[in-house]
Symmetry: C2
Subunit: 209 residues, 2 copies
DNA sequence: CTAAAAAGGTTTATGCAATAAAAATTTGTT
DNA sequence: AACAAATTTTTATTGCATAAACCTTTTTAG
Protein backbone atom coordinates (compact mmCIF):
# COMPACT_ATOMS: atom_id res chain seq x y z
CA UNK A 1 0.00 0.00 0.00
CA UNK A 2 1.17 3.52 -0.65
CA UNK A 3 0.08 6.07 1.88
CA UNK A 4 -0.86 9.59 0.93
CA UNK A 5 2.42 10.76 2.32
CA UNK A 6 4.42 8.37 0.17
CA UNK A 7 2.49 9.43 -2.91
CA UNK A 8 2.98 13.11 -2.20
CA UNK A 9 6.68 12.52 -1.75
CA UNK A 10 6.89 10.65 -5.02
CA UNK A 11 4.99 13.45 -6.65
CA UNK A 12 7.39 16.05 -5.35
CA UNK A 13 10.35 14.03 -6.55
CA UNK A 14 8.89 13.88 -10.02
CA UNK A 15 8.11 17.55 -10.09
CA UNK A 16 11.61 18.44 -8.93
CA UNK A 17 13.36 16.25 -11.47
CA UNK A 18 11.23 17.26 -14.40
CA UNK A 19 11.41 20.94 -13.50
CA UNK A 20 15.16 20.61 -13.24
CA UNK A 21 15.46 18.87 -16.59
CA UNK A 22 13.42 21.59 -18.20
CA UNK A 23 15.41 24.39 -16.62
CA UNK A 24 18.78 22.81 -17.28
CA UNK A 25 17.97 22.53 -20.96
CA UNK A 26 16.50 26.00 -21.22
CA UNK A 27 18.89 28.03 -19.09
CA UNK A 28 21.90 25.76 -18.73
CA UNK A 29 23.15 24.13 -15.57
CA UNK A 30 25.03 27.02 -14.02
CA UNK A 31 22.34 29.56 -14.64
CA UNK A 32 19.57 27.62 -12.98
CA UNK A 33 19.54 27.90 -9.23
CA UNK A 34 18.17 25.41 -6.77
CA UNK A 35 15.65 28.08 -5.88
CA UNK A 36 14.50 28.18 -9.53
CA UNK A 37 13.97 24.45 -9.49
CA UNK A 38 12.18 24.62 -6.17
CA UNK A 39 9.79 27.34 -7.33
CA UNK A 40 9.04 25.50 -10.57
CA UNK A 41 8.35 22.35 -8.60
CA UNK A 42 6.29 24.12 -5.96
CA UNK A 43 8.49 23.26 -3.00
CA UNK A 44 11.06 25.07 -0.90
CA UNK A 45 14.73 25.18 -1.79
CA UNK A 46 15.66 23.30 1.35
CA UNK A 47 13.37 20.46 0.32
CA UNK A 48 15.32 20.04 -2.90
CA UNK A 49 18.42 19.70 -0.77
CA UNK A 50 16.72 17.29 1.58
CA UNK A 51 15.70 15.11 -1.34
CA UNK A 52 18.83 15.14 -3.47
CA UNK A 53 21.59 16.54 -1.30
CA UNK A 54 23.14 18.74 -3.94
CA UNK A 55 22.27 20.39 -7.20
CA UNK A 56 24.44 17.79 -8.91
CA UNK A 57 22.38 15.17 -7.13
CA UNK A 58 19.28 16.36 -8.92
CA UNK A 59 21.16 16.18 -12.19
CA UNK A 60 22.32 12.67 -11.43
CA UNK A 61 18.78 11.52 -10.69
CA UNK A 62 17.67 12.89 -14.01
CA UNK A 63 20.48 11.22 -15.93
CA UNK A 64 19.85 7.89 -14.27
CA UNK A 65 16.28 7.98 -15.55
CA UNK A 66 17.27 8.51 -19.15
CA UNK A 67 20.11 6.00 -18.96
CA UNK A 68 17.73 3.24 -18.00
CA UNK A 69 15.96 3.74 -21.30
CA UNK A 70 19.26 3.74 -23.13
CA UNK A 71 20.21 0.35 -21.81
CA UNK A 72 17.06 -1.25 -23.14
CA UNK A 73 17.39 0.26 -26.57
CA UNK A 74 21.06 -0.63 -26.71
CA UNK A 75 20.45 -4.22 -25.81
CA UNK A 76 17.93 -4.57 -28.62
CA UNK A 77 19.96 -2.70 -31.18
CA UNK A 78 23.28 -4.47 -30.58
CA UNK A 79 21.72 -7.88 -31.04
CA UNK A 80 21.32 -6.96 -34.70
CA UNK A 81 25.00 -6.18 -34.97
CA UNK A 82 26.87 -9.01 -36.69
CA UNK A 83 30.37 -7.71 -37.34
CA UNK A 84 33.52 -8.45 -35.36
CA UNK A 85 34.56 -7.25 -31.95
CA UNK A 86 35.78 -3.92 -33.22
CA UNK A 87 32.54 -3.20 -35.04
CA UNK A 88 30.52 -4.24 -32.01
CA UNK A 89 32.42 -2.00 -29.64
CA UNK A 90 32.34 0.95 -32.00
CA UNK A 91 28.62 0.57 -32.47
CA UNK A 92 28.20 0.42 -28.72
CA UNK A 93 30.26 3.57 -28.27
CA UNK A 94 28.50 5.42 -31.06
CA UNK A 95 25.07 4.82 -29.63
CA UNK A 96 26.12 5.97 -26.21
CA UNK A 97 27.55 9.19 -27.59
CA UNK A 98 24.45 9.69 -29.68
CA UNK A 99 22.23 9.21 -26.69
CA UNK A 100 24.35 11.58 -24.60
CA UNK A 101 24.32 14.52 -26.98
CA UNK A 102 20.66 14.23 -27.87
CA UNK A 103 19.74 14.45 -24.20
CA UNK A 104 22.06 17.01 -22.67
CA UNK A 105 24.81 19.44 -23.56
CA UNK A 106 28.41 18.41 -23.11
CA UNK A 107 29.02 20.85 -20.31
CA UNK A 108 26.19 19.29 -18.36
CA UNK A 109 27.71 15.83 -18.88
CA UNK A 110 30.92 17.16 -17.43
CA UNK A 111 28.98 18.03 -14.30
CA UNK A 112 27.62 14.51 -14.25
CA UNK A 113 31.07 12.94 -14.41
CA UNK A 114 32.33 15.27 -11.72
CA UNK A 115 29.35 14.55 -9.49
CA UNK A 116 29.77 10.80 -9.77
CA UNK A 117 33.31 11.01 -8.44
CA UNK A 118 32.92 13.69 -5.78
CA UNK A 119 29.74 12.17 -4.44
CA UNK A 120 31.19 8.68 -4.47
CA UNK A 121 29.46 6.68 -1.80
CA UNK A 122 26.07 8.35 -2.00
CA UNK A 123 22.96 6.51 -3.12
CA UNK A 124 22.75 8.32 -6.41
CA UNK A 125 26.37 7.78 -7.25
CA UNK A 126 26.02 4.08 -6.52
CA UNK A 127 22.93 3.93 -8.70
CA UNK A 128 24.87 5.50 -11.52
CA UNK A 129 27.73 3.04 -11.15
CA UNK A 130 25.24 0.23 -11.20
CA UNK A 131 23.97 1.45 -14.55
CA UNK A 132 27.53 1.43 -15.84
CA UNK A 133 27.82 -2.17 -14.76
CA UNK A 134 24.61 -2.96 -16.61
CA UNK A 135 25.91 -1.25 -19.70
CA UNK A 136 28.99 -3.44 -19.52
CA UNK A 137 26.77 -6.49 -19.20
CA UNK A 138 24.98 -5.58 -22.42
CA UNK A 139 28.35 -5.98 -24.08
CA UNK A 140 29.06 -9.18 -22.20
CA UNK A 141 25.86 -10.77 -23.43
CA UNK A 142 26.79 -9.97 -27.02
CA UNK A 143 30.18 -11.57 -26.50
CA UNK A 144 28.59 -14.69 -25.08
CA UNK A 145 26.39 -14.88 -28.16
CA UNK A 146 29.40 -14.49 -30.41
CA UNK A 147 31.24 -17.20 -28.54
CA UNK A 148 28.25 -19.54 -28.80
CA UNK A 149 28.22 -18.86 -32.55
CA UNK A 150 31.89 -19.78 -32.74
CA UNK A 151 32.95 -16.29 -33.67
CA UNK A 152 34.98 -15.79 -30.53
CA UNK A 153 37.64 -18.20 -29.24
CA UNK A 154 36.54 -20.51 -26.45
CA UNK A 155 39.35 -19.52 -24.08
CA UNK A 156 38.25 -15.87 -23.96
CA UNK A 157 36.26 -14.79 -20.91
CA UNK A 158 33.24 -12.83 -22.15
CA UNK A 159 32.77 -11.22 -18.76
CA UNK A 160 36.30 -9.93 -18.46
CA UNK A 161 36.52 -8.95 -22.10
CA UNK A 162 33.20 -7.13 -21.94
CA UNK A 163 34.26 -5.20 -18.89
CA UNK A 164 37.58 -4.28 -20.42
CA UNK A 165 35.92 -3.07 -23.61
CA UNK A 166 33.46 -1.07 -21.58
CA UNK A 167 36.22 0.61 -19.59
CA UNK A 168 37.98 1.57 -22.76
CA UNK A 169 34.80 2.88 -24.35
CA UNK A 170 33.95 4.80 -21.21
CA UNK A 171 37.36 6.41 -21.01
CA UNK A 172 36.98 7.61 -24.58
CA UNK A 173 33.44 8.77 -23.90
CA UNK A 174 34.72 10.96 -21.08
CA UNK A 175 37.34 12.31 -23.44
CA UNK A 176 34.52 13.06 -25.86
CA UNK A 177 32.48 15.13 -23.47
CA UNK A 178 35.54 16.77 -21.91
CA UNK A 179 36.08 19.01 -24.89
CA UNK A 180 33.50 20.84 -26.93
CA UNK A 181 35.72 20.51 -29.97
CA UNK A 182 36.03 16.74 -29.84
CA UNK A 183 33.89 15.10 -32.50
CA UNK A 184 32.25 11.71 -32.41
CA UNK A 185 34.28 10.69 -35.44
CA UNK A 186 37.54 11.56 -33.77
CA UNK A 187 36.63 9.51 -30.73
CA UNK A 188 35.63 6.59 -32.91
CA UNK A 189 38.99 6.74 -34.60
CA UNK A 190 40.79 6.73 -31.28
CA UNK A 191 38.74 3.87 -29.96
CA UNK A 192 39.34 1.90 -33.14
CA UNK A 193 43.07 2.51 -32.80
CA UNK A 194 42.92 1.27 -29.23
CA UNK A 195 41.15 -1.91 -30.21
CA UNK A 196 43.23 -2.69 -33.27
CA UNK A 197 46.42 -2.19 -31.29
CA UNK A 198 45.27 -4.37 -28.42
CA UNK A 199 43.97 -7.15 -30.65
CA UNK A 200 47.14 -7.21 -32.68
CA UNK A 201 48.99 -8.38 -29.58
CA UNK A 202 48.87 -12.13 -29.17
CA UNK A 203 48.51 -13.85 -25.83
CA UNK A 204 52.06 -15.15 -25.73
CA UNK A 205 53.51 -11.67 -26.23
CA UNK A 206 51.36 -10.32 -23.47
CA UNK A 207 52.62 -12.62 -20.80
CA UNK A 208 56.01 -14.22 -21.12
CA UNK A 209 59.27 -12.31 -20.77
CA UNK B 1 65.02 39.09 -17.51
CA UNK B 2 62.53 38.81 -14.69
CA UNK B 3 61.16 42.06 -13.40
CA UNK B 4 60.44 42.67 -9.77
CA UNK B 5 56.77 42.29 -10.52
CA UNK B 6 57.23 38.91 -12.12
CA UNK B 7 59.30 37.71 -9.19
CA UNK B 8 56.76 38.91 -6.67
CA UNK B 9 54.04 37.15 -8.57
CA UNK B 10 56.01 33.93 -8.71
CA UNK B 11 56.63 34.26 -5.02
CA UNK B 12 52.96 34.63 -4.26
CA UNK B 13 52.10 31.64 -6.40
CA UNK B 14 54.59 29.53 -4.49
CA UNK B 15 53.32 30.69 -1.14
CA UNK B 16 49.73 29.99 -2.13
CA UNK B 17 50.41 26.49 -3.42
CA UNK B 18 52.63 25.43 -0.57
CA UNK B 19 50.26 26.88 2.03
CA UNK B 20 47.42 25.04 0.34
CA UNK B 21 49.29 21.74 0.28
CA UNK B 22 50.06 22.09 3.94
CA UNK B 23 46.49 22.96 4.89
CA UNK B 24 44.91 20.28 2.70
CA UNK B 25 47.03 17.63 4.37
CA UNK B 26 46.49 18.95 7.87
CA UNK B 27 42.80 19.87 7.80
CA UNK B 28 41.50 18.08 4.71
CA UNK B 29 40.23 19.68 1.53
CA UNK B 30 36.73 20.59 2.60
CA UNK B 31 37.75 22.05 5.93
CA UNK B 32 40.29 24.44 4.53
CA UNK B 33 38.80 27.59 3.12
CA UNK B 34 40.25 29.81 0.45
CA UNK B 35 40.50 32.45 3.12
CA UNK B 36 42.66 30.10 5.20
CA UNK B 37 44.99 29.60 2.29
CA UNK B 38 45.09 33.30 1.57
CA UNK B 39 45.96 34.21 5.16
CA UNK B 40 48.66 31.55 5.33
CA UNK B 41 50.13 32.84 2.08
CA UNK B 42 49.83 36.47 3.09
CA UNK B 43 47.53 37.55 0.28
CA UNK B 44 43.85 38.33 -0.04
CA UNK B 45 41.25 35.70 -0.80
CA UNK B 46 40.37 37.36 -4.05
CA UNK B 47 43.99 37.08 -5.14
CA UNK B 48 43.85 33.33 -4.73
CA UNK B 49 40.84 33.38 -7.02
CA UNK B 50 42.56 35.66 -9.48
CA UNK B 51 45.53 33.32 -9.66
CA UNK B 52 43.84 29.93 -9.74
CA UNK B 53 40.19 30.58 -10.48
CA UNK B 54 38.81 28.09 -8.01
CA UNK B 55 39.83 26.21 -4.91
CA UNK B 56 40.08 23.12 -7.08
CA UNK B 57 42.39 25.09 -9.34
CA UNK B 58 44.84 25.50 -6.49
CA UNK B 59 44.64 21.78 -5.86
CA UNK B 60 45.27 21.04 -9.51
CA UNK B 61 48.35 23.25 -9.55
CA UNK B 62 49.71 21.38 -6.59
CA UNK B 63 49.04 17.97 -8.11
CA UNK B 64 50.66 18.95 -11.38
CA UNK B 65 53.85 19.74 -9.51
CA UNK B 66 54.08 16.35 -7.86
CA UNK B 67 53.08 14.52 -11.02
CA UNK B 68 56.02 15.94 -12.89
CA UNK B 69 58.31 14.23 -10.44
CA UNK B 70 56.37 10.99 -10.81
CA UNK B 71 56.90 10.89 -14.54
CA UNK B 72 60.65 11.05 -14.19
CA UNK B 73 60.82 8.35 -11.58
CA UNK B 74 58.43 6.17 -13.55
CA UNK B 75 60.45 6.46 -16.71
CA UNK B 76 63.59 5.34 -14.93
CA UNK B 77 61.94 2.57 -13.00
CA UNK B 78 60.05 1.00 -15.89
CA UNK B 79 63.17 0.68 -17.97
CA UNK B 80 64.30 -1.95 -15.50
CA UNK B 81 61.10 -3.91 -16.03
CA UNK B 82 61.69 -6.89 -18.30
CA UNK B 83 58.50 -8.94 -18.17
CA UNK B 84 55.74 -9.08 -20.76
CA UNK B 85 53.10 -6.52 -21.58
CA UNK B 86 50.90 -7.50 -18.69
CA UNK B 87 53.71 -7.20 -16.18
CA UNK B 88 54.75 -3.87 -17.62
CA UNK B 89 51.28 -2.38 -17.44
CA UNK B 90 50.67 -3.68 -13.95
CA UNK B 91 53.95 -2.26 -12.76
CA UNK B 92 53.03 1.06 -14.32
CA UNK B 93 49.64 1.04 -12.63
CA UNK B 94 51.05 0.02 -9.27
CA UNK B 95 53.55 2.84 -9.18
CA UNK B 96 50.92 5.38 -10.06
CA UNK B 97 48.63 4.19 -7.30
CA UNK B 98 51.55 4.14 -4.89
CA UNK B 99 52.48 7.68 -5.78
CA UNK B 100 48.89 8.82 -5.46
CA UNK B 101 48.22 7.50 -2.00
CA UNK B 102 51.55 8.57 -0.55
CA UNK B 103 50.87 12.14 -1.64
CA UNK B 104 47.20 12.77 -0.97
CA UNK B 105 44.12 11.15 0.48
CA UNK B 106 41.66 9.45 -1.84
CA UNK B 107 38.96 11.98 -1.25
CA UNK B 108 41.29 14.72 -2.38
CA UNK B 109 42.07 12.77 -5.55
CA UNK B 110 38.37 12.62 -6.22
CA UNK B 111 38.32 16.39 -6.16
CA UNK B 112 41.18 16.38 -8.62
CA UNK B 113 39.34 14.16 -11.08
CA UNK B 114 36.21 16.24 -10.74
CA UNK B 115 38.13 19.47 -11.26
CA UNK B 116 39.83 18.20 -14.40
CA UNK B 117 36.48 17.53 -16.03
CA UNK B 118 34.47 20.52 -14.82
CA UNK B 119 37.27 22.95 -15.55
CA UNK B 120 37.93 21.43 -18.95
CA UNK B 121 39.36 24.09 -21.16
CA UNK B 122 41.24 26.04 -18.50
CA UNK B 123 45.01 26.28 -18.46
CA UNK B 124 45.40 24.06 -15.45
CA UNK B 125 43.14 21.39 -16.81
CA UNK B 126 45.05 21.38 -20.07
CA UNK B 127 48.31 21.14 -18.17
CA UNK B 128 46.98 18.13 -16.32
CA UNK B 129 45.88 16.44 -19.53
CA UNK B 130 49.29 17.08 -20.97
CA UNK B 131 50.85 15.22 -18.08
CA UNK B 132 48.52 12.32 -18.79
CA UNK B 133 49.76 12.29 -22.34
CA UNK B 134 53.32 12.25 -21.07
CA UNK B 135 52.52 9.36 -18.79
CA UNK B 136 51.16 7.48 -21.77
CA UNK B 137 54.35 8.22 -23.65
CA UNK B 138 56.41 6.66 -20.90
CA UNK B 139 54.57 3.47 -21.69
CA UNK B 140 54.98 4.00 -25.43
CA UNK B 141 58.76 4.28 -25.10
CA UNK B 142 58.87 0.99 -23.22
CA UNK B 143 56.85 -0.67 -25.97
CA UNK B 144 59.19 0.66 -28.61
CA UNK B 145 62.09 -0.81 -26.69
CA UNK B 146 60.31 -4.15 -26.47
CA UNK B 147 59.62 -4.10 -30.16
CA UNK B 148 63.22 -3.31 -30.94
CA UNK B 149 64.23 -6.26 -28.77
CA UNK B 150 61.90 -8.48 -30.75
CA UNK B 151 59.61 -9.06 -27.78
CA UNK B 152 56.66 -7.38 -29.45
CA UNK B 153 55.37 -8.18 -32.94
CA UNK B 154 56.42 -5.78 -35.68
CA UNK B 155 52.89 -5.03 -36.84
CA UNK B 156 51.84 -3.60 -33.48
CA UNK B 157 51.78 0.18 -33.17
CA UNK B 158 53.57 1.11 -29.95
CA UNK B 159 51.91 4.52 -29.91
CA UNK B 160 48.39 3.23 -30.20
CA UNK B 161 48.99 0.30 -27.90
CA UNK B 162 50.60 2.53 -25.29
CA UNK B 163 47.71 4.94 -25.36
CA UNK B 164 45.17 2.15 -25.10
CA UNK B 165 46.97 0.61 -22.15
CA UNK B 166 47.16 3.99 -20.49
CA UNK B 167 43.44 4.58 -20.92
CA UNK B 168 42.70 1.25 -19.37
CA UNK B 169 45.06 1.84 -16.48
CA UNK B 170 43.65 5.30 -15.94
CA UNK B 171 40.07 4.05 -15.88
CA UNK B 172 41.02 1.53 -13.21
CA UNK B 173 42.94 4.16 -11.31
CA UNK B 174 39.83 6.31 -11.14
CA UNK B 175 37.93 3.30 -9.93
CA UNK B 176 40.60 2.89 -7.27
CA UNK B 177 40.28 6.36 -5.86
CA UNK B 178 36.51 6.44 -6.24
CA UNK B 179 35.98 4.16 -3.29
CA UNK B 180 37.77 4.18 0.02
CA UNK B 181 37.28 0.44 0.26
CA UNK B 182 38.91 -0.42 -3.04
CA UNK B 183 42.37 -1.88 -2.52
CA UNK B 184 45.36 -1.70 -4.80
CA UNK B 185 45.35 -5.46 -5.04
CA UNK B 186 41.77 -5.56 -6.19
CA UNK B 187 42.48 -2.99 -8.88
CA UNK B 188 45.52 -4.93 -10.01
CA UNK B 189 43.40 -8.02 -10.36
CA UNK B 190 40.83 -6.18 -12.42
CA UNK B 191 43.44 -4.65 -14.65
CA UNK B 192 45.09 -8.02 -15.13
CA UNK B 193 41.74 -9.51 -16.08
CA UNK B 194 41.25 -6.73 -18.60
CA UNK B 195 44.61 -7.32 -20.19
CA UNK B 196 44.45 -11.08 -20.25
CA UNK B 197 41.00 -10.99 -21.82
CA UNK B 198 42.02 -8.47 -24.46
CA UNK B 199 45.24 -10.25 -25.36
CA UNK B 200 43.50 -13.58 -25.64
CA UNK B 201 41.57 -12.20 -28.60
CA UNK B 202 43.42 -12.60 -31.86
CA UNK B 203 43.41 -9.99 -34.60
CA UNK B 204 41.24 -11.99 -36.99
CA UNK B 205 38.51 -12.41 -34.38
CA UNK B 206 38.53 -8.72 -33.69
CA UNK B 207 37.78 -7.62 -37.21
CA UNK B 208 36.08 -9.93 -39.64
CA UNK B 209 32.41 -10.95 -39.34
C1' DC C 1 64.61 62.60 -10.47
C1' DT C 2 59.94 63.20 -10.61
C1' DA C 3 55.34 62.74 -12.34
C1' DA C 4 52.13 60.37 -15.13
C1' DA C 5 50.63 55.89 -16.42
C1' DA C 6 50.04 51.14 -16.10
C1' DA C 7 49.74 46.94 -13.68
C1' DG C 8 48.15 44.32 -10.13
C1' DG C 9 46.23 43.53 -5.47
C1' DT C 10 42.79 44.66 -2.02
C1' DT C 11 38.35 46.13 -0.39
C1' DT C 12 33.65 45.90 -0.72
C1' DA C 13 29.42 43.96 -2.21
C1' DT C 14 26.40 40.40 -4.22
C1' DG C 15 24.53 35.76 -5.59
C1' DC C 16 24.13 31.15 -4.68
C1' DA C 17 25.11 26.35 -2.73
C1' DA C 18 25.10 23.91 1.33
C1' DT C 19 23.81 23.00 6.09
C1' DA C 20 21.68 23.36 10.67
C1' DA C 21 18.11 24.46 13.89
C1' DA C 22 13.68 26.22 15.02
C1' DA C 23 8.96 26.81 13.66
C1' DA C 24 4.82 25.63 11.27
C1' DT C 25 1.96 22.55 8.71
C1' DT C 26 -0.09 18.40 7.42
C1' DT C 27 -1.07 13.52 7.81
C1' DG C 28 -2.30 9.57 10.51
C1' DT C 29 -4.33 7.69 14.70
C1' DT C 30 -6.93 6.95 18.81
C1' DA D 1 -12.00 15.92 17.28
C1' DA D 2 -7.72 16.23 19.32
C1' DC D 3 -3.29 14.65 19.80
C1' DA D 4 1.12 12.70 18.02
C1' DA D 5 4.33 11.92 14.41
C1' DA D 6 6.36 13.02 10.25
C1' DT D 7 7.81 16.32 7.03
C1' DT D 8 8.20 20.76 5.03
C1' DT D 9 9.18 25.54 5.38
C1' DT D 10 11.44 29.47 7.66
C1' DT D 11 15.34 31.50 9.22
C1' DA D 12 20.17 31.98 9.78
C1' DT D 13 25.07 31.03 8.80
C1' DT D 14 29.28 29.72 6.27
C1' DG D 15 32.01 29.63 2.27
C1' DC D 16 32.84 29.61 -2.89
C1' DA D 17 32.75 32.52 -6.77
C1' DT D 18 32.59 36.91 -9.20
C1' DA D 19 32.33 41.87 -10.27
C1' DA D 20 33.42 46.65 -9.58
C1' DA D 21 35.53 50.38 -7.39
C1' DC D 22 39.56 51.67 -5.07
C1' DC D 23 44.55 51.85 -3.82
C1' DT D 24 49.19 50.86 -3.84
C1' DT D 25 53.40 49.87 -6.17
C1' DT D 26 56.23 49.39 -10.08
C1' DT D 27 57.37 51.21 -14.76
C1' DT D 28 58.04 54.37 -18.01
C1' DA D 29 58.75 58.85 -19.91
C1' DG D 30 59.92 63.51 -19.75
Amino acid sequence: MSSLRARQKEDRRNRIVSSAKDLFKRKGYDKTTIENIAVAAGVSGVTVHNYYGTKAGVLLALVIESDKRLIERLDASLSREDGGLVALTLSFARQIMEHAITNLEKDIWRQVIAAVTTEAGTQLSKAYSKLDEQLALVLVRRLEAMQAAGRLAKEVSPLHLGRALFQLQNARFIEFISSDDMTQDEIETRLRNDLVALFSVCADQGNAP
